[in-house]
Symmetry: C2
Subunit: 368 residues, 2 copies
């Protein structure tokens, strides 16, 4: 994925176009997903600065620590490589490349210590987050990116299937043990890395971002399993809620509402829909069923090289969905101290309507 | 480790003392190691802002996304907890807590997008990196921290022992496969996470930060294995170089120089030594043997909650070593296109002299 220079050239051209529209004089990228998206290289998150400097109209330069230079695929047609030694000052090197340019956009995840050092080196500049330039471009996935997301989703589906089929035992084991198993399965099914695993059982299932711990999973409990990994640079993210015994009528009713809200969110995920309206479509179902106060989070987030990225399906976000946008649809209901449920798939807005990358069973499966 | 409120109270008192010395009006901590060091909570590296605001003389406040509030161990004696909802503006919340304070120190790893948003919210302030306040305090480890580092080092030693004893096969396997095995062993020996694994064989051993790849390890090759993990929040980091067959006289001579440089660096790591002089002690041995140009990196880095932190053993760093400083001593020689070697232990400066946390065999072990 993404090893074709043509892809990077095309992205660079679109970045430059957007820089021109926004009157950005230079783009500065360091750690985070913008850099590999634009040139195929990922900066190590360390104290030695790596930074790609893209002037609006001149050749980009990648500044890297000399130690890491051998890790860089040399792409002279894309950028000039400058390696700095252990006693050099990389901030001064970047400053020299910026020169008298005024309006600068810096990678959103760049460490603040580097931004502060650059602001000292380059006073009286206008600084913006790089997402202003890159975010909408990254959000419109091309076919190769959608293929990566689909393969990651299929791998996550197989892990969800293993939970549904009882291949990952729940009852009598701690949340942390189950989370470890899920992590191993994510790798076994083709992910390069585990991004996160939530296993939240019984009353813990009412905490949307629960950290799996020592709690031993019992019978007749709701268990929220939310997990994802990275495959060829792109993320998966899926949630399935299961029950370790026959669900009570209240559990069934609540889960039916979550499921209906999910379907409503999915149906609303059309090109041209406002992000806030997709959120509203799911939220209305939950509110109408009387659970409104128990759905405390947004309906979804964009996904790609970052597990959370634009577009966010949240109240107040008037951005319109575009073709190739990929995002989670993940409504949930959480009854504090009792139990909760969430259902999450990754969905793509396409000319043919919403395309769900995940296909694992949506029902409240009973497992052992 | 670090669950005792007394430890955090003591750290907060020292942080406030240093803020007073430096005339810092408020400290702002987000992602990164300063936050768990100071209050036991680690921020999730996500787009929802978590930030601890520590005014010089008032009660600290931890701003967290409402979703993540259940993950926080409530410590009302240490900080006030404020949870923000999905449509709130956390940057405005932080701004309100800062009020008219002028001189602000922000966590070094805080995402630039949040610093830029705060600079917009709070114009005409003076911004500094938080390391100005925290770095020297974090570098002087207390006994509980040294115990964590020692346990992590012992776990890494056992993995090095497994390589030395041939329990992790090298010849005929790819660097990436061997790296996976080493990662699994790091976990099996007690680490909570793998931080990094370098396996660099044959000519790749001449690249200090080589990314393990498809290259199959052959006979009679130098193999540099550099790896570490995180155990109870603290890092291990060790390098051993092995050879898959009888080493040539040139390999033996070169490795003897690396080993002698390591011993010289270790001996120089005394309380009161300048960091640059520890670097110089190791570097002089290599230069005197005629390999000076083939040792392109610093001699070491501090280690603790971050795998790289202050103090750095590098030319130009005139900081004096203090009791409890923990750092790597890791000279190496790299002959481009041919082979390289590095030897790394974690060392603590103590009143009784340098204390090496790693004890795995230092010799150039022949393995299969």
């Amino acid at each position: 994925m993404g090893t074709d220079s043509g892809v990077f050239h095309d992205r660079l051209a679109r970045v430059r176009e957007r820089m021109s529209d926004l009157a950005v004089d230079a783009l500065l990228l360091s750690v985070g997903a913008d850099l590999p998206w634009l040139c195929g290289y990922e900066a190590m998150p360390l104290e030695r600065l790596t930074m790609l400097v893209v002037p609006a109209k001149e050749e980009p330069t990648l500044i890297v620590p000399r130690l890491e230079a051998p890790r860089v695929d040399d792409r002279p047609e894309l950028f000039r490589l400058v390696a700095w030694g252990e006693t050099d000052n990389p901030v001064a090197l970047v400053g020299g490349l910026i020169g008298s340019r005024i309006t600068l956009a810096i990678g959103d995840h760049t460490w603040s210590r580097f931004l502060l050092a650059l602001q000292n080196e380059l006073p009286a500049r206008r600084w913006h987050p790089a997402s202003m330039v890159t975010s909408a471009l990254r959000a419109a996935k091309d076919n190769a990116e959608l293929d990566c997301l689909a393969r990651a989703a299929a791998a996550a589906d197989r892990v969800a299937g293993a939970i549904h089929h009882g291949d990952i035992a729940l009852v009598g084991r701690s949340e942390a043990e189950v989370a470890s198993d899920i992590g191993r399965r994510l790798i076994a099914e083709g992910h390069d890395k585990v991004a996160f695993v939530i296993v939240a059982s019984g009353p813990n299932s009412a905490s949307p971002h629960h950290e799996p711990g020592d709690r031993v999973i019992g019978r007749d409990e709701m268990v929220v399993c939310d997990f994802g990994g990275i495959l060829d640079g792109y993320c998966s993210d899926i949630t399935r809620t299961v029950v370790t015994g026959e669900p009570t009528p209240e559990m069934q009713d609540m889960y039916a509402v979550v499921s209906e809200a999910h379907a409503a969110g999915l149906s609303a995920a059309l090109i041209g829909s406002r992000c806030a309206d997709v959120d509203g479509a799911a939220r209305d179902v939950i509110a109408d069923a009387g659970y409104g106060e128990f759905f405390p989070h947004r309906t979804g987030h964009g996904i790609g090289r970052d597990v959370h990225e634009d577009p966010y399906l949240v109240d107040g976000n008037h951005t319109l969905l575009e073709a190739g946008n990929a995002f989670s649809v993940e409504p949930g209901i959480y009854l504090p101290g009792r139990f909760g449920a969430r259902l999450e798939d990754i969905v793509v807005a396409t000319e043919d309507g919403p395309w769900s990358l995940n296909q694992a069973d949506h029902s409240l499966v009973v497992v052992g």
